[in-house]
Amino acid sequence: MAYHRIAALVIRHLYLYRRSLPRVMEIIYWPFLDLVVWGFITVYLATFQGQMPAVVTFLLGALILWDVLFRSQQGITISFLEEIWARNLMNLFASPLTPSEFLAATMVMSLFKVTAVSVVMSLCAWLFYGYNVFIIGLWLMPFMANLVLTGWIIGVFTTSLIMRFGQEAEVLAWSMVFLFQPISCVFYPMDVLPAWLRGVAAINPAAHVFEGMRGLLATHAAPLTNLGLASGLNLLYLGAVVLWFHHTFNVCKERGSLVRVGE
């Protein structure tokens, strides 16, 4: 891994954000809108406070955390799409840049996006709804780290699919993550799922994060089991999906399709 090559890619993306309104909106305005809509819903639901305790805490917290996962995934996939749209893959991969360095750069971009989005959303939640994300406490940090990892897994997975299947697969950059939403149990406990789906959710690291967060808010007990499961599954999947990315990369070089992705 050469640090200067990763830095070169990151700087290339920062140049892009510096003068592109749609790209800035993606990390500021859309998350903000998301929050406003859900904020009003929770304000409304809070009027039933008696029947549904802590609903505000649950929903806004869950929403912010779900956005962490979503933006983390986008950070990876959109960074790859930017290179396709710019027809830049050939310039990059005919340079000494390795596929691992390329992935590392997308992960750095992903961290940028997640940080920006979390700051914007937490600040708005606090300003408009007097909601303090840190109510979850310091446990928020390992939870968020795990969601970032899950985002990377889905991001690298989607990127490999786009690399392999080209333009038709581009839409997955925005839709893939929602395939995982129902089994991530963002807004409801795992128990509400039918038994067979609960089995699927149990091997989804994100589900353990959200389950853990709810448990923490309800009982204040340390969510160690959930965190352990989420981390273990995340590391396992991340390793697998990175290997698969490299494999796909080689298949594309074999078929001569690497330099034609997106054409």
């Binding site: 200067h4 090559r5 700087i11 710019a86 991969f93 005919a94 070089k253």
Partner: protein
């Protein structure tokens, strides 16, 4: 003679059942300009892409600087660059930003000075702060050439580098390439469908057809061997066989 900078042995590429490059071998010496000539679909671009590590050969070997490309990709590609009329740099960055990113990617030092130098050399001063999206196709070609020379390569691959340039700029570009070769011992492999350019630029020419080398030598040799008036006639004769 010193050992060749580039050595290609029995290089082949099959896409499914179709053979695009069929067992070609050639060498390029230090400071040599080798022209790769051939009709559309002959396998020129595929050969380039294999030499840049973008396409995996089906068989054969590619060595540069005495190293095997498969196992020394990073070391080799650090000293190689390419340009083509058919590539571009990211549209949403300015000309200068694009050059800076490339310089960083190759770990250059003195980036600002190198970029200034290139901008001057390729006469890009008037549009160095323009968005790349707004360049004419000839300007884009000059930019991709600047990015290739910027990294001080020892081997340069040029796939139809002058196809969209006006005669004046094309002439200047050829002069720059010849200068660079003189000054640094740069080796160049390049393609063009402009026969006059081929004759003027190439020390040696390889004629490729349906993935195979069908003629090899200086332009003069080849013209004489085929008993034609000039390279263009040789091309027509071979292409119509």
């Amino acid at each position: 003679m010193s050992s060749p900078v580039v050595e290609v042995r029995n290089l082949s590429k099959r896409f499914g059942g179709f053979t695009a490059v069929d067992g070609i071998s050639f060498e390029i010496g230090r400071g040599e300009i080798l022209g790769l000539l051939g009709p559309n679909g002959a396998g020129k671009t595929t050969t380039f892409q294999m030499m840049l590590g973008l396409v995996t050969p089906t068989s054969g070997s590619i060595r540069m600087f005495g190293l095997d490309l498969q196992s020394n990709r990073e070391t080799i590609l650090q000293q190689v660059n390419f340009s083509s009329t058919y590539i571009s740099l990211p549209f949403s960055l300015t000309v200068e930003e694009n050059l800076r990113v490339v310089a960083r990617l190759y770990g250059m030092s003195n980036i600002a000075a190198r970029v200034d130098d290139m901008v001057k050399k390729l006469e890009m001063g008037d549009w160095r702060h323009k968005l790349t999206r707004k360049l004419s196709s000839g300007q884009m070609t000059r930019l991709t050439l600047a990015k290739a020379l910027l990294t001080e390569p020892k081997v340069l691959f040029l796939d139809e580098p002058t196809a969209s340039l006006d005669p004046d700029i094309a002439h200047k570009i050829r002069a720059i390439l010849l200068d660079e070769r003189q000054a640094t011992g740069l080796s160049i492999l390049y393609t063009s469908h402009n026969m006059r350019e081929m004759e003027e630029m190439s020390d040696r020419i390889i004629f490729l057809q349906r993935g195979k080398i069908v003629a090899e030598g200086t332009a003069k040799d080849i013209v004489a061997r085929f008993g034609q008036a000039d390279l263009e006639d040789v091309f027509l004769k071979i292409a119509r066989e």
